[in-house]
Amino acid sequence: MSWRNELLAVWAVTLRNALMGSRNVFFFFELLFWPIVGVLSIGLMSRFLELTPEQASFVLVGTIALSVINVCQLEVAYAVLLDVWSKSLKHQFLAPIGIRHLTLGSWVVGMVRSSVVFVLLTVLGWWAFDFEVLRPGWLALGTFLMGCFLTAWVVGVAVCALITLFGNRAEAFAWATVNLVLVLAGIYYPVSVLPDWIAVIARAIPLTYFLDAYRSYYGFPSEFATPVATGLALSVVYGALAHWAFLAAIQRARRTGLLLKMSE
């Protein structure tokens, strides 16, 4: 496949997801309502507990990261979910495209949507709770956001693989697992407060390292030697594993007939 066709296939999926998103009122609900509720709840709780501005920033960074990842990973999962819901999956896999086009195209829309969420939440955090998002500088902010997007990509592709493996009844299970894993990444607390065996799991999650690196600019010394490099390396490994799992799930679905069952 030529580079032109590669980009065109990714663009086709990007455009499709963007059109679907722009016509669904619930998509806007996902985009705004829950993230805003999250930041307001956590911000008000930090005020009630009389946390220092640094401590409040610590939990707000976690809350904003969770919202960004949730919005982005949901969009990546739409690579398969939209077609599963509309029972048009077979047309997608009848065309000469690979899963990379589906996941990358959806990821692009996910990054745009979650960037909007990020801007809204940081403005809200600054206005209501004096949260200074730019204190770490643009480079650290960019790295942190990229870490969130990479984590979302891994999670979204893993959800796609689970749904293709077990059918759409696996949706709830897939997201429950994903949210559990994310909470273990130290969204609201440092990994050091976790029991040893849970800390081991937390250290295996890329987001743990991106949060750690970003929070170090708010006066919380890093718990890891090279958090950004470790987070990136883990993201690449998990990304490759998730991609392989999705590919294997599609091949299995072609073998078992699940691909047809999830279609017309």
Binding site: A9, L15, K87, S88, K90, A95, G257, E264
Partner: protein, 317 residues
């Protein structure tokens, strides 16, 4: 041998497919049991059979949506398992129960799939316009898919299936649930595609008349096996259903007709008495003579081959 293979759009040999389900996947459904099939390029090939016969399974394997358990399948000279990605550029599919993303509009659906097949810019716009015109979808270009009627959805599916100008087109029950006038137009489209663009078409259908009108060749499939194949005429002769002599007369006067020599069965249909006979050329004069001698007034006589439907019923037994 090589040159004859080049003329084949599909060359499938001993294809087997078993679906497993239930607890520990112990329940087995043998969907295809050693199916072999050859379809010539540029022809319209019909797959007929009752529900659950294996038609859609076979079609899905040929279209690379399903992998066979055993057997070799070459489509347009490519192996459907090893060379699936090359093959997918050259084929497409539409089904009688189409489904696409609900809030995309007609033009957007065709354009989305066009981009997946490498079309862009002016070429994509031209292709979308051509297909919208071909499938008479102009007034519905901006209508969301979920707001379309069944017939319009099927036309969108047909338009989508032509977006890559396929050499081989699979149509899974293309006129299912359509009004008769729309069905006629869809059949005309199908015939035109082969006539004007030389596309090889493989279609599954329940409608015998459709298969009879459209197909150069037909295969009857039941319980995962091809029971018989040939041109519609060949099949009718091969099954030896006999020819039908239809007589318009007073049926109360001819109760003895079913017992006459060479008459295999006799039924009354819409004011006609239809006698299936072993050999119409020989039996027609005999019957007419006997009826004349009995003083029966014959108002009309027709001789015809059996309907494909009768062949289907016979094979499906």
């Amino acid at each position: 041998m090589v040159s004859s293979n080049r003329m084949l759009a599909i060359d499938a040999r001993d294809v087997e497919k078993t679906f497993r389900s239930g607890w520990l996947r112990r329940r087995e459904t043998h969907a295809l049991r050693g199916v072999s099939l050859a379809v010539e390029r540029g022809s319209i090939f019909g797959l007929l059979g009752p529900n659950g016969a294996g038609k859609t399974t076979l079609l899905s394997i040929l279209a690379t949506l399903l992998t066979p358990d055993r057997g070799q399948v070459l489509v347009l000279g490519h192996d459907v398992v090893r060379e699936a990605s090359v093959l997918r550029r050259r084929l497409n599919m539409a089904s009688g129960r189409p489904s696409f993303l609900w809030s995309l509009r007609v033009g957007e659906i065709i354009a989305f799939y066009g981009r997946l097949y490498g079309l862009s810019g002016a070429r994509l716009r031209r292709r979308v316009e051509t297909l919208i015109e071909l499938c008479e979808l102009q007034p519905y270009r901006r209508v969301p898919y979920s707001d379309l009627s069944t017939g319009l959805k099927q036309r969108v599916a047909l338009a989508k299936s032509l977006v890559n100008e396929p050499e081989l087109l699979f149509l899974d029950e293309p006129t299912l649930g359509l009004d008769p006038d729309v069905s006629v137009r869809v059949r005309e489209h199908i015939a035109k595609l082969r006539r004007e663009q030389g596309i090889t078409i493989v279609l599954t259908t329940h409608y015998m008349r459709e298969a009879d009108q459209l197909c150069d060749e037909i295969a009857f499939i039941k319980a995962g096996r091809i029971l018989s194949r040939g041109t519609p005429g060949e099949l009718k002769r091969r099954i030896r259903l006999g020819e039908v002599i239809a007589l318009r007369l007073d049926p109360r006067r001819v109760t003895w007709l079913a017992e006459a020599p060479g008459v295999l069965r006799c039924v009354e249909v819409d004011g006609w008495v239809e006698c299936t006979v072993d050999e119409a050329e020989k039996r027609l004069p005999e019957l007419l003579r006997a009826l004349h001698n009995d003083g029966v007034v014959i108002r009309n006589v027709q001789v015809r081959e059996p309907e494909l439907e009768e062949v289907f019923v016979e094979l499906a037994k």
